[in-house]
C-alpha cells in the first residue's frame, strides 16, 4: 500500500498528557480498504493514538492527515462528519439512554432520514440481539451486547474509517470470534479499519498490516503475516 493512496497518515505525531510523553513521534499509514492493526502492551499508547486521530486529545506536534487533509487541529465533532468513527475502549455507550437512542445518536450528524432508517435496519440485522432489546436502557445490556451496541452506534455514523479500541476486551472466546468476523464483514462492505488489540493473535489473523507500539514508539511494522512469524512479536504478544 503506497503512501500516495493512504487514507490516513500520521507523521511524527507527539502527544503529551501534562508531563507524560505518551506518543513519541508516531508514523503510521492506513490505506483505503485495509484492516490495519495496532498492537502493544498496556500503556504503550494505543488508545492515545486513536484519541489523537479522533481529535479527543490534541497533538503537541506532528501531522495527522485524512484523505489528504490535515485534521490535527480539527475539533472532534467535525472529524466524525468527515467519516472517521471510533468505538472507544470500554465501549462508552450511553448507559442512561435506550438501545434505540444510542443508535440514533450514532446518526446525530446525519440528515438523510431514509439512509438512517436503512442503516438502522442494517445494524439490527447484523446484531439481532440489539433488535430484541431496542427499547431497553443500554446500561442493562451484557458486556457483549454493549460492545455490539458500541459498534452499531459507530456504524450509524456511516464511517469511511472505523477505529476500534480493544473490541474483544472482556468477552468470552466465542463472542470474540463473532466480533472479529463482524469486523471483517464491515471491512468487506467497504469500511477501512484501524484495530487496536491486546488479543494479538486474533488481530493478526484478520489484519492486512500491523504496527507494534512500545512506550509511545512504533518498534515494528509490516504485513500481518510477517509480524505473526516475527520472533519478537511471538515472544511478547503471542505467548512464545
Amino acid at each position: 500500500m503506497g503512501r500516495v493512496e493512504a487514507m490516513l497518515n500520521l507523521e511524527d505525531v507527539n502527544v503529551h498528557y501534562g508531563a507524560i510523553w505518551a506518543l513519541k513521534g508516531i508514523n503510521l499509514t492506513v490505506g483505503e480498504g485495509e484492516i490495519v492493526s495496532l498492537i502493544g502492551a498496556n500503556g504503550a499508547g494505543k488508545s492515545t493514538t486513536l484519541r489523537a486521530i479522533s481529535g479527543i486529545i490534541k497533538t503537541s506536534s506532528g501531522k495527522i492527515s485524512y484523505q489528504g487533509e490535515d485534521i490535527s487541529k480539527t475539533p472532534a465533532h467535525e472529524i466524525v462528519k468527515k467519516g472517521i468513527a471510533q468505538v472507544p475502549e470500554g465501549r462508552r455507550i450511553f448507559a442512561n439512554l435506550t438501545v434505540m437512542e444510542n443508535l440514533e445518536l450514532g446518526a446525530y450528524i446525519r440528515k438523510d432520514a431514509k439512509g438512517i432508517k436503512q442503516d438502522m435496519e442494517g445494524v439490527l440485522d447484523r446484531f439481532p440481539r440489539l433488535r430484541e432489546r431496542i427499547g431497553q436502557i443500554a446500561g442493562t445490556l451484557s458486556g457483549g451486547e454493549q460492545q455490539m451496541l458500541a459498534i452499531g452506534r459507530a456504524l450509524m455514523t456511516r464511517p469511511k474509517l472505523m477505529l476500534l479500541d480493544e473490541p474483544s476486551m472482556g468477552l468470552a472466546p466465542l463472542l470474540v470470534k463473532e466480533i472479529f468476523s463482524i469486523i471483517q464483514e464491515i471491512n468487506q462492505d467497504g469500511t477501512t479499519i484501524l484495530l487496536v488489540e491486546q488479543n494479538a493473535r486474533m488481530a493478526l489473523q484478520i489484519a492486512h498490516r500491523a504496527y507494534v507500539l512500545e512506550t509511545g514508539r512504533i518498534v515494528l511494522e509490516g504485513s500481518a503475516q510477517e509480524l505473526a512469524k516475527h520472533e519478537d512479536v511471538k515472544k511478547a504478544y503471542l505467548g512464545g
Binding site: P75, A95, L105, Y108
Partner: protein, 292 residues
C-alpha cells in the same frame, strides 16, 4: 380539612416556582457538574425584564416571552464568559466564578435600578379569587400552575423527544463519547444554559407576581430553596427537580399554615440535611442513571 386543602394549594403554587428554578439548576449541574450560583439572580433579571415590558404596556404572555428570551441569552453569555474557560481548571474555580457572577448581577441591578421594592403595574395581572369547596383559589395560583405545567411539558418534550435533548442527555452522561458521535459539546452546554435560564426567567416573573415584589436580591431565597429542591430530587435528574420543588413547596406551606411560619425557611434546610443523611443521591437520583 379545607385548611389543609388551602395549604396544599398554596404549597403547590410555591412548589411549582421552585420546580421551574430547580430544573435549571439540575440541567446545568447534569451537564457540567457546576452548581450555578448565579442561577437565582437570573430569576431576578427575568422579573425585572418582565417588569420593564409590563411598564411599556405589554401583556403577560409577551412579557414572559421577552423575559425568557433575554435571560436565555444572558445564560449563554454567562457560560461563555465566566465558566467555559475556568471549568477545565477546577470545579472550585468555576464555583468561585459563579459566585462572582451572582454578586455582579445583584449589584449591577442595584446600581442602575436601586434597591427599592417594585411591583407589577395594577392592570398587568388583575387579581381575582374564586371559592371552591371552601378553598379560596386565586387566579395567581392558576397562572403559576398553568404556566409551569406548559413549560414543564415543553421541557420534557425537548429533553426526551428531540435530537438536541438526546445530545444533552448524551453529553451529561459522557461528553467524550458524545463528541465521538459528532455532538458539539460546547454548543450543547450553551443550549442547556439557554433553556435553564429561560425557565428561571419564567420563575422570576411568576414569583414577582405571586409575592408582589421585584427587587435586586429577590433571587437569593428562591434560588437557595430551588437548589435544595434539586438536591432533594437528586441533582442531575429533571423529574427529580420537579418532584423536589413541589414537595418542598408543600412542606413549607404546611409548616407555615399550621403555626410554624417562623420555622418555614428552617424546614427546607432540615429536610435537606435529613435527605442527604438518609439518601445522599436524592429521591430520584440513581447515581449515573437518568441524569440530564
Amino acid at each position: 380539612m379545607t385548611d389543609l386543602l388551602q395549604q396544599l394549594l398554596n404549597g403547590l403554587s410555591q412548589g411549582s416556582i421552585y420546580a421551574l428554578i430547580a430544573v435549571g439548576y439540575t440541567m446545568i449541574y447534569g451537564i457540567i457538574q457546576l452548581i450555578n450560583f448565579a442561577h437565582g439572580d437570573v430569576i431576578m433579571v427575568g422579573a425585572y425584564v418582565a417588569l420593564g415590558c409590563a411598564l411599556m404596556g405589554l401583556g403577560f404572555i409577551p412579557s414572559l416571552a421577552v423575559a425568557m428570551l433575554t435571560c436565555a441569552i444572558l445564560g449563554v453569555i454567562i457560560e461563555r464568559v465566566a465558566y467555559r474557560r475556568v471549568r477545565p481548571v477546577s470545579r472550585l474555580a468555576a464555583l468561585t466564578s459563579a459566585i462572582g457572577v451572582s454578586l455582579f448581577l445583584e449589584y449591577t441591578m442595584m446600581y442602575f435600578l436601586g434597591a427599592d421594592l417594585r411591583t407589577y403595574p395594577a392592570g398587568f395581572f388583575p387579581e381575582r379569587t374564586y371559592s371552591l369547596l371552601g378553598v379560596t383559589i386565586n387566579n395567581k395560583d392558576l397562572l403559576v400552575l398553568g404556566t409551569t405545567l406548559v413549560l414543564v411539558i415543553i421541557l420534557q418534550y425537548i429533553i426526551y423527544r428531540t435530537r438536541t435533548g438526546k445530545a444533552m442527555r448524551a453529553v451529561s452522561f459522557d461528553g467524550q463519547a458524545a463528541q465521538l458521535m459528532g455532538v458539539n459539546v460546547n454548543s450543547t452546554v450553551a443550549i442547556t444554559f439557554f433553556i435553564g435560564s429561560a425557565m428561571a426567567a419564567a420563575a422570576g416573573l411568576l414569583y414577582g407576581i405571586y409575592f408582589n415584589t421585584v427587587q435586586p436580591l429577590m433571587g437569593l431565597m428562591p434560588g437557595l430553596k430551588a437548589f435544595i429542591a434539586a438536591v432533594l430530587g437528586g441533582i442531575g435528574s429533571v423529574p427529580g427537580a420537579m418532584l423536589g420543588g413541589i414537595l418542598l413547596g408543600m412542606t413549607e406551606s404546611l409548616v407555615a399554615g399550621f403555626g410554624g411560619s417562623m420555622y418555614r425557611d428552617a424546614v427546607a434546610f432540615i429536610i435537606l440535611i435529613l435527605v442527604l443523611l438518609i439518601r445522599p443521591t436524592g429521591l430520584l437520583g440513581k447515581g449515573a442513571q437518568e441524569k440530564v
